[in-house]
Subunit: 394 residues, 2 copies
């Protein structure tokens, strides 16, 4: 796999480029003719990076530059520029494992923390599609099979153990992982000032920080996230990191990627289906059905790869796969619970819960999201199938 | 921490040094005077590396050079020269965490894969002391507390998460880990040609390779070893990697070190106590008592550090420590079982089982080692304390 990469002499210094600089930069690198009119439109949500769509005559591309902190928080939350290298490397890895499953990387400039990729428009962002009830039918199955494949092919059941450990070392991504550790596993359970909720939920959020049994389970899930390197995970596979259309599904925003527990990505995906359903009662049961479809499609694909593609002799032992899927399922529920709680009351808010104008309704939905999250965390080893959750979605 | 290190211009090429070259090399680096008579005596067991004691006038030191394969197997088992860097780095880390717990590193030459360390003589190797029933009283407690401290201080309960992940990446040590994966977890359960046992044990060894329930559990332990980065582990902490004397205990041979599961090192240590006891019935009950002492000293020290030194807020949650110690205990039993089986019938044989001249007795001891190993693997989650094992040692 060859990575288009720029390492120019004399341009080793990071500097943030404004819109005029950007046009100069991309023309210098031959993406547009020198005399070609190019428009620059910012399309990022403004939380972490600066992302622009560049449009010339008959060509568009996506230009992303990182700043050394999270935009949404400011310079008090430093973030490594190296996340752009990780993002590019993982997009390429995904595209290699499942061609077309990630935008093509057109340029990576590590020193400048600039990444230029294929523009996936007019594909829609999954979250937007879900909020409008306009998601394509094949979407959940695509994500499930994408996840099964990218996990299996980067796990010790397939990869050469030497190659896997080297890939793990090169994608250690400690700075971005720390953000997940803090925002997903710590702050929502600390009555932290950065949490976000209606005043009427104050006690709910306070009780989260006082629930010792819950916090013990969150602590275990956090530690497993920090220490278990099952496979390359996206680490932030919510519906806002997925482009959808009728004929394909494309995963992006891989800057949080690292080696982590098998169940983590499916957790984030189904958690965001659940949240969307709670936030839009007319879709609630459908989201539950989609979560079920997701899990069964994931386990079918993972099992198929296990049987046909494994390089680990122990995968031939009868019963091992079932035990592993049980662990993945239980982890998935636990991590889904954490994601639901942090999306409900943490700093990284999403529209699914916030588009409702009626405060009382919004509050009740936020509370239900928290309660289901707690239930999933506490009962993750006892729940035998997603069907047992049906009553939460009626 | 500054590491004495040599990176000379023009000497970047690895070459294996003979005894004459060695004397020239150490004099050039100022360890001895140019006209000083220096004797070179090989002291390695010949399994993996070349190790020499160099003695001048009033000074001795240990010189070790790696070859790019395992000596005992030959060039068909390539091993990375980088293991010498890992060994030096980890010796220094141990000495930093618990001063005096590892030999001082005097020189590391990464290109030449040469490591020069302090000579710990006249300390005895732990295995030799155990075989002769001459181990110092404080030995097991020292090892337990060494392990508790080196694990805790390199875990996410103490270390900054960024620092820990960077240390993990720099000590990924994939080549040496692969050796463990293969020799500890694969070959003993494959009726492999490299296994070693008396003809009368052929069926015992064959049945190991046909025991599907056992192999499923070994598979899980192997995968956890490959994927769980709880803390910096020695990875080969048997009694032959420990120097003992009445007043101190020193750990060496850290070339297998990596980040791994908490329970791994204690497993290897108690497994080798058990094996020694089975191999020398007059010490059998004592070895069981020492294993108990080891576990209780380990958990006492680990708990003390958890309470007083932790930087992870979740360690304040009541009950979390007990759950973690339970997991460590269960992993310890499982990995001890694997170590017992591979030492009994695998390629890396030890004197504890082989010093007996009577073939029938030797065979029975080897079989008992295998049987206890199987029991520990299968029952690791059900055994509540080492006291439940007492009948194995009467």
């Amino acid at each position: 796999m060859s990575l288009p990469s720029v390492q120019e002499k004399g341009s080793n210094q990071y500097q943030f480029l404004n819109e005029e600089d950007i046009i100069h930069y991309v023309k210098k690198h031959g993406f547009f003719r020198e005399d070609e009119p190019v428009s620059v439109i910012e399309i990022s949500d403004g939380k972490i990076n600066h992302v622009y769509r560049l449009t010339g005559e008959g060509k568009t591309l996506i230009y992303k530059q990182a700043v050394p902190y999270a935009r949404t928080v400011g310079e008090t939350m430093p973030l490594p520029l190296d996340r752009v290298r990780v993002e590019a490397r993982v997009l390429q890895e995904y595209d290699r494992i499942l061609p077309g499953s990630a935008p093509k990387v057109l340029l990576l400039d590590e020193n400048m923390a600039i990444l230029i990729t294929e523009d996936m428009s007019p594909m829609q962002v999954g979250r937007t599609a879900l909020i409008h009830g306009a998601e394509p039918a094949g979407f959940t199955k695509d994500v499930a099979e994408f996840s099964a494949q990218t996990l299996f092919y980067t796990s010790d059941y397939y990869l050469d153990p030497m190659v896997k450990k080297e890939l793990n070392a090169s994608l250690m991504n400690p700075g971005m992982r720390q953000l997940t550790e803090e925002l997903v596993f710590d702050r929502p359970f600390q009555f932290h000032e950065s949490n976000y909720f209606e005043a009427g939920l104050k006690n709910d959020v306070l009780f989260l920080s006082q629930d010792q049994k819950l916090k013990k389970e969150v602590a275990k899930l956090k530690h497993k996230f920090m220490t278990k390197a099952d496979a390359l995970i996206h680490s932030d596979l919510h519906s806002g990191a997925i482009f959808v259309s009728e004929d394909k599904t494309v995963v992006f925003d891989t800057e949080f990627a690292c080696f982590g527990p098998f169940g983590f990505d499916m957790a984030h995906f189904i958690a965001n289906l659940f949240i969307n359903g709670i936030g839009s009662p007319q879709y609630e049961y459908k989201r539950y059905e989609q979560a079920r479809e997701t899990w069964y499609a994931f386990s079918a694909k993972f099992s198929e790869l296990w049987r046909n593609e494994s390089n680990e002799a122990y995968t031939q032992i009868d019963g091992y796969l079932t035990d592993l899927l049980e662990e993945i399922f239980s982890d998935m529920l636990g991590y889904a619970g954490c994601e639901m709680i942090r999306r409900a009351i943490g700093i990284a808010q999403i529209d699914d819960l916030n588009h409702e104008q009626d405060e009382q309704k919004r509050m009740e939905r936020r509370r239900k999201t928290v309660e289901l999250g707690k239930y999933l965390i506490m009962e993750r080893s006892k729940i035998r199938s997603l069907e047992e959750l049906e009553n939460w979605f009626r």
